[in-house]
Subunit: 504 residues, 2 copies
Amino acid sequence: MSQTDRQNQLQTLRARLGEISDINNALSVLHWDQEVYMPPKGASGRALQLATLSSISHARATDPELGALLEDLAAAGLKGDDAKLVSETLHDYRRAVKLPDEFVREFSLAQSRAFEAWVKARKDSDFAAFQPHLQTIVDLLRRRADYMGYEGSPYNALLEDYERGMRVDSLKPVFATLAKEQSRIVDAVTNSPHQPETAWLDQEWDEQTQWDFALQVAADFGYDLEAGRMDRSVHPFSTGFGIRDVRITTRLSKDELFMGLTGAMHETGHAMYEQGLREEDERTTLGEAISLGVHESQSRMWENMIGRGRAFWEHYTPKLREAFPLQMQDVSPEDVYRAVNRVQPSLIRVEADECTYNLHIVLRFEIEIDLIENRLAVKDVPEAWNAKVKQYLGLDVPGDAMGCLQDIHWSHGSMGYFPTYALGNLYAAQMFERIEKDVPLLWTGVERGDFSPLLNWLREHVHRVGRRMTAPELIQSITGKPLSPEPYLNYLKSKFGGLYQVSL
Amino acid sequence: MSQTDRQNQLQTLRARLGEISDINNALSVLHWDQEVYMPPKGASGRALQLATLSSISHARATDPELGALLEDLAAAGLKGDDAKLVSETLHDYRRAVKLPDEFVREFSLAQSRAFEAWVKARKDSDFAAFQPHLQTIVDLLRRRADYMGYEGSPYNALLEDYERGMRVDSLKPVFATLAKEQSRIVDAVTNSPHQPETAWLDQEWDEQTQWDFALQVAADFGYDLEAGRMDRSVHPFSTGFGIRDVRITTRLSKDELFMGLTGAMHETGHAMYEQGLREEDERTTLGEAISLGVHESQSRMWENMIGRGRAFWEHYTPKLREAFPLQMQDVSPEDVYRAVNRVQPSLIRVEADECTYNLHIVLRFEIEIDLIENRLAVKDVPEAWNAKVKQYLGLDVPGDAMGCLQDIHWSHGSMGYFPTYALGNLYAAQMFERIEKDVPLLWTGVERGDFSPLLNWLREHVHRVGRRMTAPELIQSITGKPLSPEPYLNYLKSKFGGLYQVSL
């Protein structure tokens, strides 16, 4: 085959991938609208639109002509990005063809119905109303695992969707370490006599003022609002339809000063990752994030390491005081830094402090494995949930809305997704050790509200990589080591040991 | 073929139409988002998403298997709704196959680019920035006319897209009558010594209060807000994604009391039509509006005959006074009724009063025909526009933003669309003669804020018809006569003769 013919093949491949990407972006717009603006009665129609587009996307992604083209290109001895594009796309193709079209359509419809039921069930704190939908989702996920194939636990097949190469057997010891160490840290910290002063938080915080402040922080971080926007939703999320339209949501309450802000900072971390993918990779397989764990490393780094850091509040406390002069007249940067890092076992994952956060993940991981491995019946989820909350967090769950109905993920048909949140914490901390060496001006920048040194580093070492590396390759290349829980635990010990004046 | 096989064929047809409808609804969501919430840099990606989905929709709508199925069913001697479903779908199919897929994709991309350019050009009042896009649109529309085929003017092929069976030759005498008669009415009315007192309008009107009031009126009309929502956009519009998610937009200014409200009432008229289509027709060809002219009859009836009517303001003036107590302490229902119907030639079509409105349409109709028939160069549009505004409205155009750049339609690739607005006025007035006979409690209802007698009549005689009739059939069946400009002119003479105390 001539060089020109080969180039034509690659162009055909790019055109096909471009159209698949357009369809998937359209699907994301429909999902965004569903969670942000869709009126309640629109749910049934939306479910059909999503199912039809999912089915069209799947048909294109599994088109035998695409398969033949990919096999041909894979045998052609391509080099560099072309080779990577072909191998990554072939990887996706071989996975996609395992799922029958009928299943894709059925799964999409079940997701939409489960989401609609979850919104209502959560509002009413009524697990029984969600139970049949969760049963359908679990059954479908078991079928999905069978289609995809797995060794060991069927949960491995689900993990593979979100964190390629990750396995139950490698996660279990990591999570055991995290659970043990973080429980110890939480005990030490909550028993310290040096508790933060937080009475000043119990005031009213105007929502519009909160909104404006959060949006300003997002813009300061480097989130391009000409290529993004922020809206409200029940469950904060980020989504993108190409690198020039990447949106975030958050939620606000006049009783909570930090909820909207930390949600916005978290989602901004995700959004800046998507905005930072290479323009020339757009609408191709290489122009995608590496994995959900790596995605979460970005959101949690910006939310926690930066947004809950001392340097950040040195700069932003005066600005927050300008926004809320009456409520904050006597509040110092150190007061805010201590308050925003208050450690307190709580029921809601997305509002959890850094010390307890992974405990929320561990309990979900255990429940999901038990569900998928058929050791736990769906009807017994609330009981199992509440027992584990007691075990890990020492709390009683007053109702399912604050318990097993709090998260959106199962209603989206996602299991195997939660572990990536804990992995995100670990990736972030491990990367951060390197960042602090590579970027000496990091903290002096943050103290001036200049986040570009960090963002530039992330752009170069993470965002622009696209799918040229896998997560293990990325972490090895950045840190010279495989993934380990130590950097995160060290980070927690150092930060919270200092905050609570305890030796950890 | 057995009865069962025939039923299976019909079921296959419905499944195919359902999926095409899902794709088209998804396209509408993307369009809605583009005009309401999309960040500016999202335009290029959105253009590709729209082009890809348009092309997929077109491919499905022109699938030869669908054609064969339809031909087969058309020859099967079906009866009733089944027969109508097949004949209407075959009608669409035969038109759709005339357009090559390449053209559909090219047209979609050109639309998106033209829309993006128009938004900016209008903001800067800079026709030159829009001119190359308008040239592309005109060229594409001429090609479209050639593909579709026509007799007489190529503009007939474009009219056919929006108002089936309508021709330039039948519109010209109607529009000549309207132009002549409405110019005469405007002259008489503006020269009357009995001018409305409108100085009270020159105050500030809080936008949120306006918003709440407009939304309440929309709900009172019968717009189901559980199956709809209102947002802001540069150009008010209504769109639906199935009967249970039909949305409207409006625009507001603190200097204009009526702009947001009348926009909302207008779009509510459109939206209630879509919400009133039959559930059992959903996702099929029968579950569509008859024509744009009939659609516009609904919006203009609710906006003008109801919302600018005396009975309406008897009920709503006290409520508006509650909303704006300081600004309206001395304003009576009659004052509002007269102010909201002030006749004054103006530059902006969507803000025009009922007497001058059709003059805006006539001038656009003439320019569009000249463009499509190649008698007017695109670069000369501003000059032609301004001359016609002088001729019909006696006004000088201070800039293109207030002139030929004011409307969104050309940027959407729509020509042949404006005439349907004038037709909407005529349909509405002609229907209304019948409605006033059929619904004796109409006005006493409106005086109490009860619009259900009117809505119920429209549901039965217009909305639920779907595509079971064409526009001429509908107007004949409702009024016993073909379309005529007389009822609308009579309506204007009676209403404005009374308001301005002149004999018309």
